[in-house]
Amino acid sequence: MRKLILLSIVLLIVAALGVVRFIDSDYRGASPIAWSFNDIRHRTLSLEDKTKVQIIGFGDSGSACSATIGTNESQAGLACEWKISDGKLFIFYSKQLRWELILLAKTKKEFVVRDGAGTVSVYSQTEN
């Protein structure tokens, strides 16, 4: 009887840990939100990462955007093009698709996105 109670307690703890872990697991269950031009208009998106640098700047209109790519040590500035299609944000360089960003969550300060490879990232956003 005592073993059964202990086993039940252990199972309960494991289940609770699993629930908490699921909630914290990069918006796994989040439904995509459609990007709109107002989300990026006059905004700069900066990837929150300790080593990688991705800063994407959008303007008032048009299809061009600037992108600074690289690491904390070395960076390059690129003239890119963007497009919103089917609610996804696509960024091209030299006519080649470089990013496909699916919006999972947004706040006044951050965007949570999933790229085409399924990696979830957080971009801080600031007004230009």
């Binding site: 800063i55 700047g57 070395s74």
Partner: protein, 262 residues
Amino acid sequence: MPVAPDYAPSLAAPERRRPPQRATPKNSRRVFFGNPSGRTLAERHSARRTAPGYRACGYKTASGRPKWLSRDPAGEFAAINMYDYVGNDPMNAFDPLGLCDADLMKPGKGTGLETFNPKGVYSVLADGSPTSIIGPANDSLDLTPQQLAHFILNQPGYTPGAPVLLFMCNTGAPGGTFAGGVSSELGSQSGVSTTVIAPSTPAWFNKSGFIGAFAEEPWNPGTRWNMVPGVWNSFKDGKLQARTYSNDEVNGWNQAGSSGCN
């Protein structure tokens, strides 16, 4: 193979200290189970080290306009009022050390470009591609070679005919048309044949001011300067010239320059 120089001391102001955050059930749990972004809540919400584009400015006025505490190191070359910051127009240009304002990059892009100041050529910085670049200010609109040539010729520090260095990714690619177009337009608009030098590959910069054309794709950057070097092509009257420049040559100009854009 270029050698990674030591980094210059950071010009950024010390990070603003935030009061210690008390452990709450929420953030304790996040720390214990791991934060999806890999950063603590305090890190996620801490203030930026510096305001974008105002890296080396002394202080800001009550209205937020950046001002220098001392004379612009570019001296009379830059402006008559040497206490101005980018002509009192920080929305349209940024000038981390006050040395050069022929800079079309957006504020906040300045990591390593504080010391980019080549001597003997007129340098223009912008985000680039083989066929287009991003214009100044925040409009994020493409600039054509014709518009860039017009912009350069209207800069007070530019003398028609002086060679121009485009620090813009891939603008000097042999198959691209941008740098060739700029040289053609500079020649036709000023009446003087002008040499335009531009990288054949992405143009990289690092924290110590070392710049270079390197073939590595920016989307997969190495952590050191061990990438395959590209070349800087030269164009005149719209035509690709035989003379190319190495990264060392271009950095030689950069190290030589200490004031002004030319």
